[in-house]
Point group: C2
Chain length 399, copies 2
């Protein structure tokens, strides 16, 4: 009976919610998540940090805070994260958000209006798409190859669509795991500036590199102050805390602060305090050192299992970090329609590739697998099951 | 150089931010806040609850959570808050938000579009206004008297403007402290239903009643499921945690969940866990019992000081609860222009009344004073200073 606003009617039901429901049975081995390993949560550190913060500084933790964010966290972010990534930032360039999710939301609020075009990599992080659409954007995909977004296709679409925003995940891209080359990063800075398109760089996985050499963020090459940079504590510390960071030029941050004020006043101070301690104590670095072997072993195990249990003619690139393996299966397999059988009968779940595309009927033969959230023996068991799903399907069994 | 979206250009600089800056000098006694007493924060309880939650249930606290909110908190809210207020709700009617601020934001996102009208009490909570406007609303004020919103003026405006939403704070209204009578609450349910206007009831102060008899929320009379109810942990437990609650019909909650998903995925789990423990342990009730004498003494002290130190011909109603005293000063006093002198020379600050009105040039002679956040001797000193500001102004001194 209620007449809802058009903007919310544009949002389809959250596809991940459905997938999560399909994975809720405890017997199901889920490769659907995008979280750190639960065994890797530094629980003791968080307990100690909380006790310290609430004992030494209860008022700062429990009262209203600055909309821009807790000053010690912003300072520690600049010193321990931004500086190490060659990103030039001072306090007025840094806004703390309630997860990087809120970063995408606030940037959309201040930039997008009806009729604007947003360019995204194809495939891309599915949860960003309804947010762009909610604020009136038409979302247009740009091709990728094994080195990331395709510059020719990008320039063609910058010219053709005069987009407001380019949304890009250059490092360990979600879902493909691909890292954009340095050369393309520099070129993209020039291109987006030339065509007056703001670049939104979403970079939650940067420090999750287990192999190869780091490639500095696009923001580190941003001489025009045209890049809005999103960082997150969800993929390394804990997503439940809901802390993200935006780095951008002062004018943009000022508008984001106005949007933040209406959105939730400020991010949970206790969460911000914990993240600040995480950086300041140096525990961030030692935590990374601790989780790397764990994650690398899991990644290696998953890759081994693909080779051992999966059908032939699988396409995939072993990622150098991040949380996901992206897999192309033989064309005849529709991973969207197979998901229900896979979860309910074979007791293993994944994210079907189609949800990462604007045109969801494309690329039905892809899947995204998370390797961080199960131990090696569970990975082996789950991958064996998943291999059976696909092999049984190909051989025409049980379908 | 960036072309911002029209919606964000509609938002003026946050007036409270300016006021906070004017109060940042430690020598200034601030009556500007809307927070609980800092001495009343139950720090030990929060430390113990955090330790318990992180020790017993670290995964639930640190992983991604349900967009709808942490189930134990939603259950405890129903049992310990909703039921006691005669509000009928089951799990599917309850959504946890990042403060009640986010409640206003999400409701606006799903309901308001360009050209819609939102009715508000005049005066009203200033921070809600830019949010309604951001999503395209024209905001129209409805008169109030000493019993709350004026039903005749309301009906006239319901007929004339066919509004999408009526936003109302019926209990210890911000800024006036007025509580709407039961009779009017029932009538408003009928009126808004009749004219197909959704009623947004913002009720953060309900349990902060030190005097008189409780008046049940409008939501308790909502036989048409037309009321969206906002509750908050900010005014009783701690605003820094950023936890609010929305109660509404299932259809509305489903849309709100879609908006919440893009907004910040879920509210900080640690914050939600602490609030859940606060209710489940029974500490909520004993905390109220502990703060009531503290708050009542402060309220009484402030009222005494008004009578002792302020000029004659002051209009005010002693509130029975909430956090504020609302004061009408002699007409010749412009509290907006006096604020700078008051803070910088007399070292006392308040919130000028004009910011609570749609037409901000009206009612320049009002101020809102918070009585919860200073102890009695500080209240006395601050009120003495404030009395001098007004008396000096009237007698033409130092201006």
């Amino acid at each position: 009976m209620v007449k809802f606003a058009d903007r919310i009617l544009k949002i389809p039901d959250d596809p991940l919610n459905e997938i999560m429901k399909l994975s809720s049975d405890k017997e199901i081995i889920s490769f659907s998540l995008g979280s750190p390993s639960k065994e890797a949560y530094p629980v003791e550190f968080i307990i100690n940090a909380t006790n310290k913060l609430l004992t030494q500084n209860p008022e700062s933790m429990l009262s209203y805070g600055l909309q821009e964010g807790y000053i010690p966290l912003r300072k520690n972010f600049i010193e321990h994260i931004a500086n190490k990534r060659n990103i030039n930032a001072s306090l007025e360039n840094v806004l703390i958000t309630t997860g990087a999710t809120q970063g995408i939301e606030l940037v959309s609020q201040i930039l997008i209006q009806d009729g604007d075009v947003v360019l995204v990599e194809s495939p891309t992080f599915f949860a960003a798409l309804p947010v762009f659409k909610k604020y009136g954007a038409t979302v247009i995909p740009v091709k990728m190859d094994r080195d990331g977004i395709d510059l020719n296709d990008l320039e063609t679409k910058l010219i053709k669509h005069n987009p407001k925003l380019l949304y890009i995940i250059p490092t360990f891209q979600n879902p493909t795991g691909i890292t954009l080359s340095k050369k393309r990063r520099i070129a993209i800075c020039e291109l987006t500036y030339k065509y007056k398109t703001v670049l939104l760089e979403d970079d939650p996985y940067y420090d999750l590199r287990f192999l190869g050499e780091p490639v500095l963020p696009i923001k580190s090459h941003d001489k025009y102050e045209n890049v809005i940079y999103l960082s997150s504590f969800s993929k390394i510390l804990a997503p439940g805390l809901r802390v993200g960071v935006i780095v951008a030029n002062k004018e943009i941050i000022e508008k984001l602060v106005l949007a933040k004020s209406g959105a939730d006043t400020n991010t949970s101070l206790l969460s911000q305090g914990i993240c600040s301690e995480f950086l300041e104590s140096g525990f961030y670095e030692s935590h990374l050192a601790e989780i790397f072997p764990l994650y690398l072993n899991r990644l290696n195990k998953m890759v081994e299992c693909i080779e051992e249990f999966f059908p032939e003619h699988i396409q995939f690139i072993k990622p150098e970090g991040g949380l996901f393996v992206w897999l192309g299966l033989p064309k005849e397999i529709n991973t969207q329609t197979l998901l229900e059988i896979s979860s309910q009968i074979y007791k293993v779940s994944y994210v079907p590739g189609s949800i990462f595309f604007i045109n969801q009927s494309e690329c039905n033969n892809y899947i995204r697998l998370n390797y961080s959230s199960n131990d090696e023996s569970t990975i082996e068991l789950g991958m064996k099951r998943l291999g059976m799903v696909f092999k049984d399907y190909i051989s025409g069994l049980s379908f």
